[in-house]
Symmetry: C2
Subunit: 434 residues, 2 copies
């Protein structure tokens, strides 16, 4: 039986999960692929670190480049994260004709053109199921299961940390900072949580989905990104009153002026299937022109769930044979042309607007007058009454309106004397799966 030799770069959560899973399943995998996987070397930062998963000391090295250059290694599994070292190592591995499996969304989002082109040139497999949605086989669905479809839209919850925080705010009536602390205590959020709560992690993943769903190069920076740190408990409560929940969605769809692609807090009708994805779970809703809506849901992070995706990529390579050329048709399509990403100012959406106003006669009329001047019409309205002269929230939901008009109107409204503090603007997505 052929042995496929693997070099693991990184031995944190995911790396040790892969090592464990490959050992645990070695007999099954040998039966199913007719090959044996052998982890030949593991690159770590510190040889002496205490590890929960025991490995023979001889496997470890601090010299990652030596693994990539080892002629005996068939597949390099890159799990160190970040873009600097990972980029050098993945480039070198591909240049040396090795196959690469990676979970590195930042690398693929920011340097995808270079990396995918190199894989095509060297005719090497470059698989990355673990980079989006952890163990959920969403990349495989896009590449293979839904191959007969033109993908028309993606609506997804692909950052478990943000979804956990929003779920706690909604279910346990916490405010943002309280929920963030809990997420950190539970290990769902990092000590420095910015990548997650500012939406950048989701932006990375969306860049990958957009590339393969719509087939073309996409500049990571063209994807509009808003995080959840501005969401207040009161926004969640008002949304609830109108029948909505707030989720951090990564959205992409074919629009009139190009591909719309954005990460944003979003009001979703309570009965929408994505509104019911709670806690640290991820879900990706894809709309294909033949299949209609397909949702994939599961754990988007964690040691063994992510390892499950990495190992499925290894099996895919093994089944096709490491000596044969990779199937690169979809990758080629994903670097051939540039996708036109629409500017956020050109989109149409419904909006949730929250103003803090001085409670006095005529305020609603003043604000709605401004909105009217910009062609924005109101569909729903709630004003909390306290006592004359106090500061109260006023919530308006709008019909569909151009983003540019809404931003301009808000600029004017925020300068009104009766408006206290900055306004809140959250987009609304309607419609259920079709």
């Amino acid at each position: 039986m052929q042995t496929i030799k693997i070099g693991l770069l990184g031995f944190g959560q995911i790396g040790s999960g892969c090592y464990t899973l490959l050992k645990m399943r070695s007999r099954d995998l040998a039966q199913q692929c007719g090959v044996r996987f052998q982890v030949k070397k593991i690159a770590v930062r510190n040889l002496r670190k205490k590890r929960q998963v025991k490995v023979p000391a001889g496997l470890l090295t601090t010299d990652a480049m030596s693994i990539v250059r080892d002629p005996d290694i068939d597949i390099v599994v890159e799990l160190i994260g970040g873009v600097t070292d990972a980029r050098k190592l993945v480039r070198e591995a591909l240049l040396r004709g090795k196959h690469v499996v990676t979970a590195n969304k930042a690398l693929l989002a920011e340097h995808g053109d270079e990396i995918f082109e190199l894989a095509c040139r060297r005719k090497s497999w470059l698989l990355f199921e673990a980079s989006v949605g952890g163990g959920i086989p969403v990349i495989k669905a896009l590449r293979e299961g839904l191959v007969a479809n033109r993908i028309d839209s993606i609506h997804s919850i692909i950052n478990g940390t943000s979804n956990y925080i929003l779920t706690r705010m909604s279910e346990d009536h916490m405010d943002f900072s309280e929920a963030l602390k809990l997420a950190q205590a539970k290990g769902y959020a990092e000590a420095d949580p910015r990548l997650d709560i500012e939406g950048i992690d989701a932006q990375h993943k969306l860049a990958i989905l957009v590339r393969f769903a719509f087939g073309g190069r996409v500049k990571f920076k063209d994807i509009h990104c808003e995080g959840i740190a501005t969401i207040r408990k009161e926004d969640i409560e008002f949304a609830e009153e109108f029948g909505y929940r707030i989720k951090l969605l990564a959205i992409a769809k074919r629009g009139h002026t190009g591909i719309e692609a954005r990460v944003q807090p979003t009001l979703l009708p309570k009965e929408h299937i994505l509104a019911n994805v709670n806690g640290a779970f991820n879900a990706v809703l894809l709309r294909g022109d033949a299949v209609g809506d397909v949702l994939l849901y599961g754990r988007g992070a964690g040691s063994l769930p992510t390892a499950s995706a990495v190992v499925s990529d290894l099996v895919d390579i093994a089944k096709r044979g490491t000596d044969r050329f990779a199937d690169l048709t979809l990758v080629m399509r994903a670097i051939r042309s540039e996708l036109r990403v629409a500017s956020i100012s050109t989109i149409l959406s419904r909006y949730y607007l929250r103003f803090h106003i001085t409670d006095q006669p005529g305020v609603l009329s003043k604000i709605s007058h401004v909105l009217g001047k910009y062609g924005i019409s109101i569909s729903d309205c709630v004003q909390k009454i306290r006592s004359q002269g106090s500061v109260v929230p006023l919530i308006l939901l709008t019909h569909e309106a151009p983003e540019r008009s809404v931003r301009e109107a808000i600029g004017v409204i925020d300068r009104l004397r009766v408006v206290r503090g900055p306004s809140q603007v959250i987009r609304i997505e309607s419609g259920s799966p079709q």
Copy 2:
């Protein structure tokens, strides 16, 4: 560019969907597989029938066997359904070394051992993504995406007709026959709806899932099957009061005495993700030991959704090359050994029990006395009071109890003088995705 020649058996909903989709996507598919698909012949029952999808008359034939025997055909796509003719045609195609793609769940459920063995012997591809869950890539997830997992359980909604009927009963307060009529009017249910509402269609699909999730032969008849015709509007309303919805689930899990596999109406907590799968949608929740819970959701039927799955199978074969041997490792695993299916009488479950009783003092005590004697303890109780002496429903939810004890206890209770009409017994599944 190589041309792959396809023979379509059947030109109903799915067949014409495949023909349309292959035409619509021909350029994309050629780019992605480096081959062209050509539908060379289509077997129909009646050459003169008016068809919505126009095809050159020369493609049609009433002689399906001539397609299967045509040495020029590479892949036979079997979409005629039923087990008699389909079985002969698929056997003959495999014997002649052709690859086969089929959507025929009845054939694979009832004659899977024979058909899969033949495919292995002839080293032909036999793909069947469309047989379960329409366009949802669930078979691919089991075969490839989750290949690193031991699958521990399946909870699924895989009959759209039943789910549509139960959704209408729940949301629009219809009774069963009213909802069935609406389903028929909308084209979700056949004139003869028995295959769907008696659970047999779901039983066929579960047999296929069980074979590939747990890896072994399974006798279709060993899968316990209950339909939805006995569910009354009042059951749905009482379930709602306790915080549950009723869904027709196809369940399989590793139990103490073997694989538990059953199709049954089930009480699910309202917040469970499957409780929120409504209308004609399907969903399959798989639990893997590494990945945890993964849900796949989408349209389980319909012309283009199902065609999407058939075409993805064609692409899978094309990409591997029709002249190469098929990857049969998983198929071989699925016929190698016999799975031990546990008898329904040996399972443990929680239960919803509904009795119609004469409203008089001491009835609850009599019934709970019988349950106690059989070791069944009650977790919740609702008794609707009308007037002394009238017939009222009494609802009990139990803690976990052995099926056998529950059936015996119900037998005794149904013979009590105060109990009017047959009792209702519905199993409860608890627990949310992990």
